[in-house]
């Protein structure tokens, strides 16, 4: 399953870090962060609990970029 989320991030390098962090999260098959439209597209693993995975994604992103935001 694929979902797109609106995000808030200040710089392109930070967006790249978020992308990496999201991809490391369990349950995420592939995540892409686009800085310009301020969007994150997440493809989940089969049978993953979307809201739990996204909470984890947000936590991991906050770790690498403290003032980023994902509107889940």
């Amino acid at each position: 399953m694929k979902k797109t989320y609106k995000i808030e991030v200040d710089c392109a390098a930070c967006a790249a870090k978020m992308e990496e962090a999201a991809n490391r999260t369990n349950g995420v098959k592939e995540a892409t962060v686009a800085f310009m439209p301020q969007k994150m597209k997440v493809e989940f693993e089969e049978g993953a609990d979307v809201s739990a995975v996204m909470a984890e994604v947000l936590k991991n992103c906050k770790k690498v970029e403290s003032d980023c935001e994902i509107f889940i």
Binding site: A13, T32, A34, F35, M36, P37, D67
Partner: protein, 624 residues
């Protein structure tokens, strides 16, 4: 400005004023001086320091915040209070400018692409009610008033009007619509009130599909973008380690040689290199350039599905075109009338049109159209009788009491009538009246008015070879190719042969050269996906084309291909300019900084100044 940006601006002003005031107050006690300068320093830098500490805690040591925190704290420890605070101040000014400029161009580009309708009008009890287009079910009748956007695809069930398609195609060619016509969402209703029965849900409508495509386009990153992200990942740690070495090694060497260590001098040089080496100019300007290029293209009616395709387009050396529907209109028209002696052209056309008036074959239709256009008269069915169609040959009929035969050369041979062999290329319709040869009419597919200019434009944009593929007969194809300036023609191809032909070209081209295929998207989906870049044209209303292609031209004007190539070349040009400019300035300053020729102020220029110039340069991609 957003709230966040305004807050930063206030902090910048307050701390700048404080720095200016404090540097004017003569304070001799160093501790009081430190305490005074710490106020503006913390006002401007507290968030950077916080992020730097959080970064270390979370294992993200070498980022920009860390660079800035290290450089400014180092400067303050060395007693350079003004410089330390100023570096932080300018860094924040640079960041503010960057976020403002990027936000502004982001909004500009989004506005350019903003064709999303906000509401749909539904009539209830004689009153118009605005509802969310997402809530409108298929088959609902919606009302579109003059000046409003058509929100959902549908069929006109009441009213006539003119639609402006420029938001979709980039060209303001008004289109007339009346009852029974299909309309596409995203067009603007210009004059009359329209009632439209929706045929699709909002999410499936043209406008949603296009928006989706454009918004997702920056998810597909170009090689340059990936390169820079990877570059930044290794670059920042490398710079930190280099700066550390610069701060420690020379003083240690000095000590070993028995000279004074000169710690403060080398630490300042190390801090300067840290400031210079911030990679933001590159990291921010490259995605911004691509975003601008894609936005600029979409305002011209060219949808690029990803930065990678925009990049590939600029490297295109081979363009393979389909003929029918791409370079030619795919509609048959009368191109030449040659009447035998004693007859005029209008009379000949009239005979042919009447003889063929009962047929619905494309050739007959083109004869009737040409007759209507040239003479302004309608076919009067009462003048024709005894129509007889001889399959594969032609038609004979009695018109105003004269026996007219119209058909191909075989038909004339069958009737034993001597005929003229045409000089030009096309489908021939020979006409004989009462057994005497009256002349011939040539019908052919019309070359699009911009096709020649489009191919010349492609050549000017660096395309080495333009290849035309067609299922048509050789002589027709050769004639079109010669007229347009196409380099290579392959004719009489079946759809499968087209794929094979493209495969052959792909195998023979150089590794860094790209091949683009241009088609109308109708039955060339396999070729579109096989080529490096598939370009589909005339996508207005054709979902198949939007799906299959990498670049979509919203109307069927071939000149758009050249426009798209020029935009892509300009975008890539700007990207390369920024990479070279930023790296040259930074490395030059780094080199000079390491040997002590660059002070902190130059370092600030090398960081913030270069970034501002690169961002301004990137915004040029919008204007094409």
């Amino acid at each position: 400005m957003t709230k966040k940006q305004k807050k930063v601006l206030v902090r910048i002003i307050v701390s700048a004023v404080l720095v200016a005031v404090f540097s004017l107050i003569p304070v001799n006690n160093p501790y009081v001086r430190l305490a005074l300068f710490l106020i503006p320093y913390l006002i401007i830098g507290y968030d950077i320091l916080r992020k730097a500490v959080l970064g270390i805690v979370n294992g993200q040591v070498f980022d920009e915040n860390f660079l800035m925190a290290l450089a400014t704290v180092g400067a303050i420890i060395l007693g350079e209070y003004v410089e330390g605070t100023a570096v932080m101040l300018f860094y924040q000014i640079g960041e503010l400018f960057q976020s403002y400029a990027v936000g502004k161009s982001r909004r500009n580009i989004s506005a350019l692409m903003d064709i999303r309708p906000d509401y749909a009008n539904i009539e209830q009890d004689g009153q118009l009610e605005q509802v969310d287009p997402d809530d409108v079910e298929v088959g609902t009748v919606i009302v579109v008033q003059p000046g409003e956007k058509v929100p959902i695809d549908g069929v006109v069930v009441g009213g006539t009007s003119t639609l402006n398609t420029s938001a979709l195609t980039g060209e303001s060619l008004p289109r007339e619509v009346q009852e029974g016509d299909e309309v596409i969402s995203g067009c603007v209703n210009l004059i009359g009130l329209l009632r439209i029965e929706t045929t699709k849900e909002f999410g499936e409508s043209t406008v949603s599909k296009i928006l989706d495509l454009v918004e997702n386009s920056s998810m597909k990153k170009s090689r340059s973008e990936n390169l820079i992200t990877r570059f930044a990942k290794y670059y920042t740690p490398a710079v930190c380690i280099g700066a550390l070495a610069l701060a420690v090694l020379p003083p240690v060497v000095n000590l070993m040689m028995g000279n004074p260590a000169g710690w403060s001098q080398w630490v300042i040089r190390a801090l300067t290199t840290l400031v210079i080496s911030c990679p933001c100019a590159l990291v921010i300007s490259i995605p911004l350039s691509f975003f601008g290029g894609i936005g600029g293209a979409s305002s011209k009616g060219v949808l690029v599905k990803g930065s990678n395709y925009l990049e590939a387009l600029s490297e295109t050396k081979y363009v393979v075109c389909d003929k029918t529907g791409t370079l030619t209109k795919g509609v048959f028209e009368v191109t030449h009338i040659e009447a035998a002696e004693g007859l005029d052209a209008d009379e000949l056309l009239e005979m042919a049109a009447y003889a063929e008036s009962y047929s619905n074959h494309p050739i007959s239709r083109s004869l009737k159209d040409a007759y209507g256009k040239r003479t302004g008269k309608q076919i009067d069915a009462g003048r024709v009788c005894d129509v007889e169609e001889i399959s594969g040959h032609g038609v004979s009929a009695v018109i105003d009491g004269r026996k007219v035969s119209a058909g191909n050369a075989k038909f004339m041979k069958m009737l034993d009538i001597a005929y003229t062999v045409p000089q030009n290329i096309g489908t021939e319709v020979h006409v004989a009246v009462d057994g005497r040869y009256a002349g011939y009419i040539l019908i052919s597919d019309i070359v699009k008015p911009n096709a020649g200019a489009a191919i010349a434009g492609l050549k000017a944009a660096g395309v080495r070879q333009v290849v035309m593929l067609t299922g048509d007969a050789g002589n027709v194809a050769e004639a079109v190719a010669a007229e347009l300036g196409v380099d290579v023609v392959k004719s009489e191809l079946l759809p499968a042969d087209k794929v094979a032909e493209v495969e052959r070209l792909l195998a023979s081209k150089g590794e860094k050269e790209r091949l683009a295929f241009v088609g109308d998207g109708i039955n060339d989906a396999p070729v579109l996906s096989r080529a490096d870049i598939g370009i589909a044209m005339g996508a207005l209303g054709s979902d198949a084309a939007i799906e299959a292609a990498d670049i979509v031209l919203m109307d069927d004007d071939p000149a758009k291909i050249a426009i798209a190539m020029n935009i892509s070349r300009k975008t890539l040009g700007i990207v390369h300019q920024n990479i070279v400019f930023a790296l040259v300035v930074k490395f030059a300053c780094l080199g000079l900084g390491a040997v002590g020729f660059v002070n902190m102020w130059w370092a600030i220029f090398a960081d913030v100044g270069v970034m501002i110039i690169a961002v301004l340069n990137a915004t040029r991609t919008l204007k094409s």
